[in-house]
Structures are given as structure tokens and as C-alpha cells.
């Protein structure tokens, strides 16, 4: 644990135990999303599905990266992950991104994907709001993750016909915002 770092956050007026609870819940959401997106990606097939598969894969890998980036901050602040994987799954900040009843319905899969990303966007906005100007490191991390979650949302939203995302797919490495926390 980074004792002084935690003290600084507490001194800034943040309830660190509540913050840790939020970070663990969002870490759980990232890892469970990585799992559920694996199933969604496998079912993105055919003329419609193949076009979405690549961005679903990028979002899947980046969500795993978010989990990896969150874990050190949880332990730095004196928190920990649950010992039990099922417990961890069940505390997730977002509902499971389950495969729709009709796995051939690409639009239904896209709706699951976009809702998962929207939950994440709300969650990290919440953490950013909570930590802004008080816990600089958690804010920086949450903001980096938020940047990527917003991009994921816009990609899936674009495929649902809600309007252009305004950007291209990733070129080369994943996690352009979060990678600095993974080195």
C-alpha cells in the first residue's frame, strides 16, 4: 500500500473506502465484460457480423487493459480484489453483457455492446467527478479509461445507425490512452 498517497487522498476529502469499492466494482465490470465480449465476438459472423467483429475485439482487449490498469491503483490505495471469482463477477458495476437470445441477430448484439459501453462511460464519469482536483492519480487513470470507453460507445453507436463516430479504427496498438498505465 502507498500509505502517504492514501493519506493525501483522504486529506483531500475523499472517502477512500468508498472510492475503493467503486474501483473494484469497475474492475469487475471490465474483466466480466472481457469475458462476455469474447462470446459476443465469436458470434459476430456472417455478412453483417464480420464487419463488427474487429471493433468488438478491440473493445474486448481494451476492456481487459482497463482491468489491468485499475488493479495496481486498488492495491496502492490499500484495497484488494475479492478472493472468489464469482464474488468478483457479482459485484460488477455493470450488468452482464450476455449474448442475446437470438445469437444471429447482429443488431441485438450491437445493442448489448453499446449498453455495456454506456454503463462504463457513466461509471468513469462518476469516478472522474468524484476525484477531480482531489485524487490526481485515480482521476488521470479514470479519465484515460473514460476516453477509450467513449470511443467504444461511438463505434457501436455508429453501427446502430445513431450517427458517425467521427474517427477511424485503431491503427496499430490498442489502448492509446491507457497504455501509459500498463508499462
Amino acid at each position: 500500500m502507498a500509505r502517504v498517497a492514501r493519506e493525501m487522498v483522504e486529506k483531500a476529502g475523499i472517502n477512500v473506502d468508498q472510492l475503493l469499492d467503486l474501483l473494484v466494482k469497475n474492475a469487475a465490470a471490465e474483466l466480466t465484460t472481457f469475458y462476455y465480449y469474447t462470446i459476443l465476438r465469436c458470434n459476430l459472423i456472417g455478412l453483417d457480423g464480420e464487419g463488427v467483429k474487429e471493433i468488438a475485439e478491440t473493445a474486448r482487449i481494451e476492456d481487459r487493459n482497463h482491468f489491468e490498469a485499475l488493479v495496481p491503483r486498488i492495491y496502492e490505495l490499500g484495497g484488494r480484489l475479492p478472493d472468489d471469482m464469482k464474488t468478483f463477477h457479482d459485484v460488477s458495476a455493470c450488468p452482464p453483457a450476455r449474448l442475446p437470445k437470438d445469437p444471429t441477430n447482429v443488431k441485438a448484439i450491437l445493442k448489448v455492446l453499446v449498453e455495456a459501453e454506456r454503463c462504463a462511460v457513466r461509471g468513469y464519469t462518476h469516478i472522474c467527478n468524484l476525484t477531480a482536483g482531489k485524487d490526481h492519480r485515480t482521476y488521470d487513470l479514470s479519465q484515460a479509461i473514460l476516453n477509450e470507453e467513449i470511443e467504444h460507445e461511438s463505434w457501436f453507436s455508429e453501427f446502430l445507425g445513431e450517427g458517425p463516430s467521427g474517427h477511424f479504427m485503431r491503427r496499430g496498438e490498442t489502448s492509446p490512452f491507457v497504455s501509459k498505465f500498463l508499462r
Binding site: 468508498q18 469499492d21 467503486l22 462518476h126 467527478n129
Partner: protein
């Protein structure tokens, strides 16, 4: 429609098998079925059984998230604004 006092509403805190109700702008919503209100807590900071009208103004979502939940009553003494607040 049932009218809740703040004290009555507090009993519906989502804990120990109780349903989770929250109030917003004078209406009482049953959010028990929501994944995001498990154990009567939302985003760690918000508890069921209370009036969240002010808290929702600061939330990273609008009032539309409440539309999918059933209204089970009204909150006694709560002012319902004529003009909708910002989304």
C-alpha cells in the same frame, strides 16, 4: 396511489429482503429489479429509501433512466416542479 412519508420510504432500502424504492421529484419508483441497485445501493454512494431528486442533478445520467421503473406512489410533502429540470 400510495402516499409515502420520508420515514415510510426509508423502510424500502433494499436491504434484508426489503424492496428498493427511491423518490424523484415527488414520485416514488421501485428500482428493486435493477442490476444497478443491488442490495439497495447505487454506485456505492447512493442508498435506496431516500429522495434522490438533488442527487440526480449531479448524476452522469438523466431522468430518463427512471422511466423503465414502476411508479409505486408519491412522496408526501415533496414539491413537483412544473418545469422539467435539465436532463
Amino acid at each position: 396511489m400510495k402516499e409515502f412519508t420520508e420515514k415510510e420510504l426509508a423502510q424500502y432500502n433494499g436491504k434484508h429482503g426489503n424492496p428498493a424504492y427511491i423518490a424523484f421529484e415527488g414520485k416514488v419508483y421501485n428500482v428493486s429489479a435493477s442490476f444497478l441497485w443491488k442490495a439497495g445501493t447505487h454506485e456505492v454512494l447512493h442508498n435506496a429509501g431516500v429522495d434522490l431528486t438533488e442527487a440526480l442533478e449531479q448524476a452522469p445520467h438523466g431522468r430518463e433512466v427512471l422511466e423503465k421503473f414502476p411508479v409505486v406512489g408519491i412522496l408526501h410533502g415533496a414539491g413537483v416542479p412544473d418545469v422539467p429540470s435539465k436532463p
